[in-house]
Every structure is written in C-alpha cells, then in structure tokens.
C-alpha cells in the first residue's frame, strides 16, 4: 500500500468533471484506490464518493493505492490532480 498527499490546485475544486476524471483514472487500475479529506475516506472508483468529498481549491487529499499496480496508479492519479485536471487558473 502506498500513501501520498496531493493538493487540489484547480480553481473550481473537485466539481463534477474533475471528479469524473479522477474516477476514470482510478478505475483503470486493478489496485484499490481511496481518497481521504479531513476525516472522510471514500472509494476512489466511486463517483458518488469522490463528489461527496466536496474538495475545494487548496484542500489536502490523501491518496492511497493498494494492489499489484499501486505505484503506476499512484503516479497517474497524482499527475491528474497536479495538472489541475487540465483546467487553467
């Protein structure tokens, strides 16, 4: 299991489209993916879960990946978050 912290950098936060992007990225891997914000921990492959985080710009997200492709999964997920979901600003 790997654990890393990422910061939401895009201005609009984790709204519908970024949430959908995160879930599609997580779903590409066999590993289990979890996101934790404050005390809420959700399944990274569940859009409802990710939406429930209501993570705004600047929030800290703990990413956990667990499984045979956990490092690859972690790498891609962090990349998507850090790129600001290809959103400018």
């Amino acid at each position: 299991m790997i654990k890393k912290t990422a910061i939401i950098v895009n201005d609009l936060g984790l709204h519908a489209r970024p949430s959908a992007m995160l879930v599609s990225t997580s779903s590409k891997f066999i590993s289990e993916v979890f996101f934790t914000k404050d005390s809420l921990r959700v399944n990274g492959k569940s859009i409802m879960g990710v939406m429930m985080l209501a993570a705004e710009k600047g929030s800290k997200l703990i990413v956990e990946t667990d499984g045979e492709d956990e490092s690859e999964a972690m790498e891609q997920i962090i990349k998507v978050i850090e790129s600001g979901f290809d959103e400018i600003g």
């Binding site: 519908a16 489209r17 569940s46 859009i47 409802m48 879960g49 939406m51 209501a54 400018i88």
Partner: protein
C-alpha cells in the same frame, strides 16, 4: 383564490416569448414511505432496485443520444456525468447492503443515502458544488420514480403548457419538450446552470423568479418573455395581443421561415443587395437552416465554450469545435470572436478577481492579453481549424491600438511555431476588431489600417457612450442605440472603414431592428449581423426599400438633436413604407 393580472420581473435565462397556461410540476419526488421488508422478500426488493437502475440507465442513454444529435458535445457530457452516477457500483452496493441490513424498502434506503451524500454539497456556497448535487438528484429522482413505478412519461400536457417548478434537470427539459411543453418558469438555477444551457440550445424560453411562485393556480393563463425576464399572470386581452405580436416577430417559427425567403442576401426594391450575417453562441437548431441558406456567421461567441463548462477547454477540444463550425459553414464564412469574458459573462466560480466596477474593468480583450496561455491556446486552435479558409478572428472590446499590436504579435508567434511543426493553416486569416468602447470609435481612423474588418457592438457602445446600464430600470430611458451621440460614433467608424477599404458591420442587438434598418444602410454599413430570429423580417423589409433614397434620409436623421427626434423620423419612414404596401 382568484388571481388578478400580475406582471412580475424575473431574470431572463433563455430567450423567447411564450403564451400559454400554467402547469405546476412538483419536481420534489413523491413521498417515500418507510416499509419493513421481511427477510424472505429482500431478494426481490434488490431485484426491484436493479430493475429501476437499468431503466434509469437506459433512459439516460436515450437522452444523451438524442441530445447529442441536436446539441453536440457540451450537452452530451452532462448526461455522461449522470450515467457515471447511475452506474457507480461502489455506492449502489452500499445501498443494497443497507437494504439487507436494515430490512427496509429500496426507495427509502436509496433516498436517505442520497440525501446524506448531497447534504454537504447542497450547503456549499460554491455554485459548482451545488450543481453537482443537482446532477446527483437528477439521477436519484429517476431511480426513485422507477422504483415507485411513476415516471416523467406519465405527464400529459395540453398544448401550450408552460411549466412552473423549482428547477428542471437537463433530462426533464428534454423530455418535457418532447411532451410539447413550451416554456419554463423556475425558482432556482442561474444563467450558467445545466438547465439554462440545454434550454437555450433547444430555444425554449426560461425565466427565473426567486420568490414564491407555487401559489399560481394550475391552468391560469401566463405569458413568459425569456428575453427580458417578464412574467404576466392572468394577462388581459391587450397583453395577449401585444406579446403575440412580439412573439411572431422574434419566435423560433421565424427561423424556419428563413427557408422560404427568395433571395439571401436580400435585395432592395431598386435592386441593391444588402449583406446580412447571423450571430451564434452554442450549436443549436438554427445552424442547419443558416448553413443551408448560406448565411455567414458574423459573430460566433466562443466564450460559451468556457461558460458551458466552467473551465477553459484545451486546444484539442477547441480545435474540434472550430473545425466543426468551419465545415458546417464551408460555403460561407465564420467570424470567431475570441473569449469575451468578465462583467456580466462569468462562470460561477471564484477565478475572476472581485471588481468594484466590473463594467469598466477586466473584460473583453483585457484579461486575454494577461492570461496569454489561454489566449494562445485559443488562437492556435482557431489557426489549426482555419485550413478551410473560411474562419476569421475578431477581438472584443478594443480600447486602444496597443491591444491590436499585442495580439498581432501573439498571432505571428503562433503562426511561426505552426510552420515549424509543419501544421497547415490559413496564412491570410483575417483579423478584425469589435468597436464597443467610444475611444475605439473616435480613433477608428487610426485603428482601421491595422485590421481587416470592423464590427460594431452597439449594446456596449451605447452603454459606454451614455453612461447608462441597459438593465438598470432607473436609467433605461436614457439607454438607446439611436441616441444621436451613438449614431455619430457609428458614422465615424463607418467612414474610417470606407477610407481604409475594410468592411464595417453591426453585430449588436440593433442590427436586426427593422426600425433602424434604413438608417444603418443609408449610413453605409456593409453587413448587418443579427440573431437568427430577426433575419426573416429583416429581409422582407429590405425588399420594400428604395436604396437610392437612404443616403439622404440617413443624413437628415443624423442631424437630429435628440433620441426622440431620431425615433420620430424613423417611425415616419416606416409608416410611409407600410402605406405603400
């Protein structure tokens, strides 16, 4: 309770006028009872839930496909997100586990878990988080209705029904339209909500009224004017006649009538062709008719790409979009106005800085010259799509020459890198500007040699010349594009175009105005670019006019000393026209 005539001012969300009668749609779902399910029947309860999910998914797919045919990618993505919610295995498994654990009915458990999941989003001050809650509810309402066996399909509307509800989901707007609902009065949801986007794409009028509207009785007569946000409940016969007239003037029917026009561009009585063009925002039903009749696009508002998504689309998305438009109008041309944001055009987010006076602030070309990454991405996408050789670039809100110079520098940089990458584009793509700020009109003579065309945005030019906000009722009487001061600025601009041999068009709302048509043509405007619903009447009026007398007529109008005098002269001219025919 008897309701007297009542006129209310709401917020215009999607333009157009409709006359009909009220039907209150309780978008709050039916009361869900809590029922204890014996262990022996838990399995069939789960099956019932699965079946409801299947039906919901099927329905969403149908909505997505039919939306895709009519409206393109932006709208499709709204339904894609909803499909993702409807197929969230993790969440749905949790629901099933709860059904079994608590031995309660599927509808009750699902509903309470959705309420739980959305509570946080709903209370967020962030409009995007609220929109997310609405997307989830759009799906869960469908599921719950399918469990209960009631669906939206059970609604039967009489002709000319105008629906009143708290909020309508994009799916509801689509299916109510199929059931012939003609307009919507809502309590929630702003100009950039998913509801608004889809209604505009379908040309369905929507007005937002934030106070209580639910006590209006069913079947009351009602008029909605989505263009200005007016609501008339129990209208008098006079109201009815007045709005009916307005409607036939501006309604979607008039767009279909474009097909019947003999000549486009229209020809005056004495044989002079008057060039017209159309303004467009999102792809919509008018596009096909416009391209079929070879009507060029004089103003394509690209900022809707941003407003629709709340984020700047990447180069590839933009390229595909511009390329599609270029192909659709391959026999004519399309003027793409670069992102025109700020002031009244902002997505509901905190990206834009707070400004005390946004009308005089960071808007139009100004932010784009600072957000150069965004601006360059857009220009690059337009250039890549320009291989069809029918795209033109137009810059909004030019105030002074430096803005043109800076943009031209950016464009040549991008052209250079495209050449290096061996990417084809139109080397001679035209660059034009919008004149909306009085300084630009006054200096038009020195701006014109730098560009290929000018388009006058009369709405802002009027507001800035007269220092009167057009949506402020207190100064509404001052605001008129026919004020002689505004006309003088138009004249300066037109003459600058003539002296420098570049075309000048008008693309503000007045461009399609029948009353001012003889004046603008007489003043020497080359092209009038109007909303599609104005084209039919405009062309018909041109047919009745003698071109050769217009120069003299407009000279006399330009000598007026007040707006009133201008309007009187125009009215007399129009009356004389009507008498002759």
């Amino acid at each position: 309770m008897i309701f007297k005539r009542k006129k209310l001012k709401g917020i215009p969300i999607s333009s157009g006028i409709v006359l009909g009668h009220v039907r209150i749609v309780d978008s709050d779902i039916i009361k869900i009872p809590e029922i204890i399910i014996p262990t022996s029947r838990l399995n069939s309860e789960i099956k019932l839930f699965d079946l409801a999910l299947e039906k919901t998914i099927l329905e969403l797919k149908q909505l997505r496909d039919s939306a895709g045919k009519k409206m393109g990618n932006t709208i499709v993505k709204i339904f894609d997100a909803q499909l993702m919610i409807a197929t969230d295995t993790d969440f749905l498994n949790q629901v099933k586990e709860e059904i079994v654990r608590k031995k309660r009915n599927a509808g009750f458990i699902y509903h309470s878990m959705v309420i739980n999941a959305t509570a946080h989003l709903k209370s967020s001050p962030d409009k995007y988080m609220q929109q997310m809650a609405k997307d989830i509810e759009a799906v869960s309402n469908k599921v719950i209705n399918h469990i209960a066996g009631t669906t939206v399909k059970d609604y039967r509307f009489a002709p000319n029904t105008i629906l009143i509800g708290k909020y309508f989901t994009p799916g509801e707007i689509l299916s109510y339209r199929q059931k012939k609902a003609i307009g919507f009065l809502v309590n929630e949801g702003g100009k950039n909500s998913h509801m608004a986007l889809i209604a505009r794409a379908l040309m369905l009028p929507v007005v937002l009224y934030e106070k209580n509207i639910s006590q209006i009785p069913n079947n009351s007569r009602i008029i909605l004017d989505g263009t200005v946000g007016e609501i008339v409940i129990n209208p008098t016969d006079d109201d009815w006649t007045k709005y009916k007239k307005l409607k036939t003037k501006h309604g979607p029917v008039t767009i279909k009538r474009i097909k019947k026009l003999k000549n486009i561009p229209p020809v005056s009585k004495d044989g002079k062709k008057i060039e017209i063009a159309s303004n467009l925002s999102l792809p919509g039903p008018a596009d096909d008719i416009l391209s079929e009749r070879k009507i060029p696009i004089g103003l394509y508002r690209t900022e809707f790409l941003y407003l629709a998504k709340g984020k700047f689309p990447d180069e590839e998305t933009q390229y595909q979009f511009y390329n599609e438009i270029a192909e659709k109008f391959k026999e004519t041309s399309v003027i793409l106005r670069t992102f025109d944001l700020g002031y009244d055009k902002l997505a509901a987010n905190n990206f834009w800085p707070h400004e005390d006076n946004p009308a005089l602030g960071w808007r139009g070309i100004r932010p784009m010259l600072e957000l150069t990454d965004i601006f360059k991405t857009q220009i690059r996408a337009i250039l890549r799509a320009s291989i069809h050789k029918n795209l033109k670039i137009m810059l909004p809100m030019i105030t002074e020459v430096s803005e043109i110079n800076k943009t031209k520098k950016l464009i040549s940089q991008i052209k250079l890198s495209l050449r290096r990458e061996n990417i084809e584009f139109d080397e001679n793509i035209e660059l034009g500007i919008m004149i909306e700020v009085p300084s630009a009109a006054i200096m038009a003579e020195s701006l014109a040699p730098k560009i290929d065309f000018i388009s006058i945005g009369t709405n802002d030019l009027t507001q800035y010349t007269l220092a009167a906000d057009r949506i402020n009722n207190k100064v509404a009487s001052l605001y008129s594009p026919l004020n002689p001061a505004v006309l003088k600025l138009l004249k300066l601009t037109i003459d600058a175009g003539k002296n420098n041999n570049i075309p000048v068009s008008i693309c503000g709302e007045t461009a399609g105005d029948i009353l001012s048509l003889p004046l603008f043509i007489g003043m020497g405007i080359d092209v009038l670019s109007m909303n599609p619903n104005k084209i039919f009447d405009f062309c018909r009026t041109v047919n009745k006019i003698d071109f050769k007398i217009l120069k003299l007529f407009s000279d006399s109008v330009l000598k007026s000393s007040s707006t009133k005098e201008v309007i009187n002269k125009l009215n007399r001219f129009n009356l004389a026209l009507d008498k002759k025919h």
